[in-house]
Structures are given as C-alpha cells and as structure tokens.
C-alpha cells in the first residue's frame, strides 16, 4: 500500500479524534453514576431524571423551542422566497449579494450589541419576540444559501412545460417547483432550527433582564460558570443529540444537491 494513503488515514484519525473525543467524554460522563470524571461507578440515567425535575431548565428549554419554532418558520418562508427571487435574475446587484452574505460573516457580538442598541432606541421591550426577530437574520441567510444551491441544479424547462400546458403561476409553483425544492427547504429549516436552539450571544443581548426569557444556551452558560455538574453533562448530551439529529437529517434530505 502506498505510504501517502497511510499518512492520510493517520491524519484523519487524529483530527476526527480531536474533534469528537471531547464530546464523547461528555456523553460518557452523563451516564456515569459517580458523576466524576475520575471514577466510573456504573451506568445510570439519574442525571437525566434530575433534568426533568429542574424547573429552570424546563422553562429555558420551552423558551428555546418557542423561539426556534418561530425563527424557523419565518426564516424558512423569507429565505426560500429570497432564494427564488435571487435565482430568478441572471445577476443580482452587488449590494444585494453583500446584504445576503453579511449575516454569515458578521461577528455575532457586533450584531448582538447593534440589535440591543436598536431595540432600546426604539423603546421596544425585550423578550422572546426580540430574540426571534434577531435569529431570523442569520437563519434566513442559511436557508437561502441551501435553497439557492438546489435552484442552481433545477431544470427550468419543467416550469416552462407546466406553463405551456396551461397551469397558472401558482399551480406551477405548488405542483412543480415546490416538490422539487421541498427537500432543500426542509433541509434549510432544520439547519435554521439547530442554529436557533444553539445560538447564545445574540439571544443573551436581546433577551432582556429576568428569568422569563432565558433560553437554554443562556441557562447552560450560567450553569457552566458555576462549575461542572453531572446535570450539565446530561443536558449537553441531549442538546448535542438534538442538533446532530437535525443536521444529519438535513444533510440526508439535501444529498442530491450536494452530489
């Protein structure tokens, strides 16, 4: 066997080890009865049970789901329409392209303090609704980029065929364009959902004071600052599991575009 193949394999094993071992340790510890990293004293689900009776965590989890649901819904609609609009033109103005690209590269701390300044300048009370408004910004950009990639592979002659056969614009959209785009739209929605449930910095700045609008990442942040507990390991495992499931599903739905 060629030496470079072994070198490549070794590099990949090392890099994937570096990426996944820390997460694996966390997952393993969440099932450890002793709750300590040093001693394995048997398998338990007690830390997961402790989560279910922690009202702070349950409240934060429900806030996160509310925010993510609305942010996903709005950003999927806006992002899909944006993709359709952008791909309908052979070229878009550079200002428009920059506007659509910006949410993916702007440092989140800048967007966070900008939004805080903006909302308080308007005198708008902060809460879950301001987090939703803020999350839609970057979620729609990612939905748009996934749907756009799909549209680039889209065979436009089937749309023309549908129109030639007498279907109206709406019928063509619902019966032709939408079914072809649907996997990409759902993939985008799943990505938007994960981005929203995991987003911390912007939510932290736009949530306002008080427990009523604390999201799960904010709850996790305050727990981490007080130290390591087995409950955090269990919570981290659950959150990672939800994200990974949504992302793998998203990738699987969108696999035709990527090929």
């Amino acid at each position: 066997m060629k030496p470079h193949r072994w070198a490549g394999r070794t590099i990949l094993i090392l890099v994937f080890g570096f990426l996944y071992l820390p997460i694996a340790v966390l997952v393993g510890l969440s099932f450890n009865a002793s709750g300590l990293p040093t001693v394995w004293s048997g398998f338990t689900l007690q830390w997961y049970g402790a989560l279910a009776s922690n009202s702070d965590i349950l409240g934060a989890a429900s806030n996160t789901l509310i925010v993510a649901a609305f942010a996903t819904l709005i950003s999927t609609i806006l992002g899909t329409l944006l993709a359709l609009g952008l791909e309908n033109r052979r070229r878009n103005g550079t200002v428009v392209e920059a506007l659509v690209f910006a949410p993916m590269v702007i440092p989140d701390i800048v967007l966070a303090v900008g939004l805080l300044s903006f909302f308080s300048r308007l005198g708008l009370p902060l809460g879950l609704h301001t987090i939703v408004v803020s999350h839609v910004i970057f979620c729609l950009a990612f939905v748009c980029s996934i749907v756009r990639a799909r549209l680039k592979h889209f065979d436009h002659s089937i749309v023309e065929a549908s129109r030639d056969l007498g279907a109206s614009g709406w019928t063509t959209f619902w019966r032709v364009t939408c079914p072809v785009l649907l996997p990409a739209i759902i993939a985008g929605a799943l990505l938007a959902f994960t981005l929203s449930i995991d987003e911390f910095i912007i939510a932290f700045f736009t949530a306002g004071a008080g427990r009523s609008s604390i999201t799960l990442p904010m709850q996790i942040y305050s727990m981490i600052r007080f130290g390591i507990t087995p409950e955090i390991n269990a919570l981290a495992t659950l959150v990672m599991g939800v994200s990974a499931t949504a992302l793998i599903l998203s990738q699987w739905l969108n696999k035709d575009t990527l090929r």
Binding site: V15, L19, V25, P37, G93, L99, P107, V113, I228, R259
Partner: protein, 290 residues
C-alpha cells in the same frame, strides 16, 4: 440604475427588508453611537467626539488589543496547520467517501458552541480527565493547572473553529485541477516542490478565507476567554461585552464594535485580492526553471 444597485426580484424584498431593518440599521446606529459621548450616568449624549476611537490607544485598552491579537493569531496559525493536512487528506480520499468525511468534519461546528467549550473544562480542570489520566499513569506531582491559561483559550478557539477552516481549505483543494500537480511532477519537481510551488499557491484563497474567519471570530470572542481563560484574558469581545452590560459606556462599546467590523472588511478585502490573483495564476514555470 447602476449595476450594483440592480432592482431585486419582488420575492426577495421581504427578506431584504428584514436584513436592512434588523441588520443594516442597527449597524448604522452603532456606527453613529461610536461618535457620541457617554453621559455621566450612562446613556448617550449627542455631542460629536472622536474620543471613543482615541481611547483605543489608551495603554489599558491597547494591551487588550495586543493580547487578543496574539491569541487570535496563534489560534489561527495552529488551526491552519491542522486543517490543511486534514483537508488535503479528505480531498485525496476516494471520491464517493469525501462528502461524508467532510460532513462529519464540519458537523461539530453547527452544534452548540458553549457545550463544545464546556467539554474542554471537563478535560482540562485540576480534577479533570487529563489530570486523572496522568495520575493513573503514575504521575505523582501537583495536578497540572491547564484551565484558565492562555493555552486553554487557544485550544478552545482552535477546537471550535477548526471545522470551518477545514471546509474552506477543502473547497479550494477540490477545485484544484489534479493535472497541474501531475504536470509539475512530470516536469521533474519533487513532491515537496510541487506542493510549495503549485498546490499551496493555488489553494491560498481557501487558506485565507479560513484564516480570516477564525481570526475575526477569535478576536471578537467573549465566551471562550470567559470560560476557559477564567476571565484572566480579555479579548476585544470581552471589552465590547463589558461596555454594554457592566460599564454602561455604549459609545465606546460601539466604537470597539466598529473596529471589529473594519478589521473584518479589511481582511476580507485582502482575501478577495488573493482569490483574484490565484484565479489568474498559472503554475510559476518561467522563473527558476531549474
């Protein structure tokens, strides 16, 4: 209408309006705040000043800038050194296995940043996994204090942003025509020379894109220095955080935010130049034909 302002399709308008209202306007507001004075009890006094930008050169803050630039630069260098071989190995794997390898390399990036940082607290703390492994391996000295050091902050930044750097370099490598490297080898260049004179220059845009990304996000970070640095290492992100949430000096915080944006635009411009140049690059055949 000039080409760069070409009127968008009506379906794009709702999203574009959303972005203008909730991203552009807040950034412009921040830009305006950066030139105003802070009131005695916080708040904003609408008198024009350049003082917020001048304060950046105050030794107290200049120190934070230098520390965060050093930490971000070290993290960037380490990430590039790990990501390049990884991306290269993925790009040389069998073609149908590449998408899945890439997906799993990038997967952690989309998951929860706090949790990935927390994982390193579990590994690095004094009673943590690494110290207990050392003890069980026969090490009897004091437990190593790895957490709350500059090294821990750097490891955290590299760990969190590595997937994206791999993705950026891979996308450059996958666009590279393999015949170029073959041609170089056929013309008698060794593997090292081929890499340095052909592959590396042509994939520099990907390296630059990944590097800009991790550098800007690191220098503006406040979570990793707070959690893995124990608050002992301030980055520009921590300064912005403090101005808005504890010091109540929004104009200075806004000025710092603008500096982050300017830095990002500057680096992205350099990256775009590199991309243009690489697009016009032919393998350097003329010089040093030896």
């Amino acid at each position: 209408m000039p080409a760069f302002l070409r009127r968008p399709d009506p379906r794009a308008l709702p999203a574009l309006l959303w972005l203008v209202l909730f991203m552009v306007v807040p950034c412009l507001l921040l830009f305006a705040y950066a030139f105003f004075e802070r009131g005695t009890w916080g708040g904003i006094v609408y008198t024009f000043t350049l003082g917020n930008f001048a304060r950046v050169f105050d030794p107290l803050y200049a120190g934070v800038f230098l520390t965060s630039a050093r930490i971000a630069a070290t993290a960037t260098a380490i990430a590039l050194l790990i990501a390049y071989p990884a991306a290269y190995a993925i790009s040389r794997a069998p073609r149908r296995r590449q998408p899945i390898l890439l997906f799993f390399a990038v997967l952690p990036f989309w998951s929860n940043y706090l949790i990935r940082t927390y994982a390193w607290i579990v590994l690095l703390n004094r009673e943590g996994l690494i110290n207990s492994l050392l003890t069980s391996a026969g090490y009897t000295g004091e437990p190593l204090s790895m957490l709350y050091t500059e090294g821990a902050v750097i490891v955290g930044l590299v760990y969190n942003y590595l997937p994206f750097v791999i993705l950026a370099i891979y996308s450059s490598l996958s666009r590279l025509d393999p015949q170029l490297a073959e041609a170089s080898r056929d013309l008698g260049a060794g593997p090292v020379r081929t890499f340095l004179r052909v592959t590396l220059p042509m994939t520099l845009p990907g390296v630059a894109a990944g590097g800009v990304f991790i550098f800007v996000l690191s220098i503006g970070n406040f979570v990793t220095p707070a959690l893995l640095g124990g608050g002992r290492f301030q980055m520009i992100g921590n300064l912005v955080y403090d101005q808005f949430l504890t010091a109540n000096d929004w104009p200075f915080g806004a000025a710092l935010g603008m500096i982050l944006i300017l830095l990002m635009l500057l680096l992205l411009t350099i990256q775009a130049r590199l991309t243009d140049r690489a697009a016009g690059t032919r393998p350097p055949a003329r010089e040093e034909a030896a």
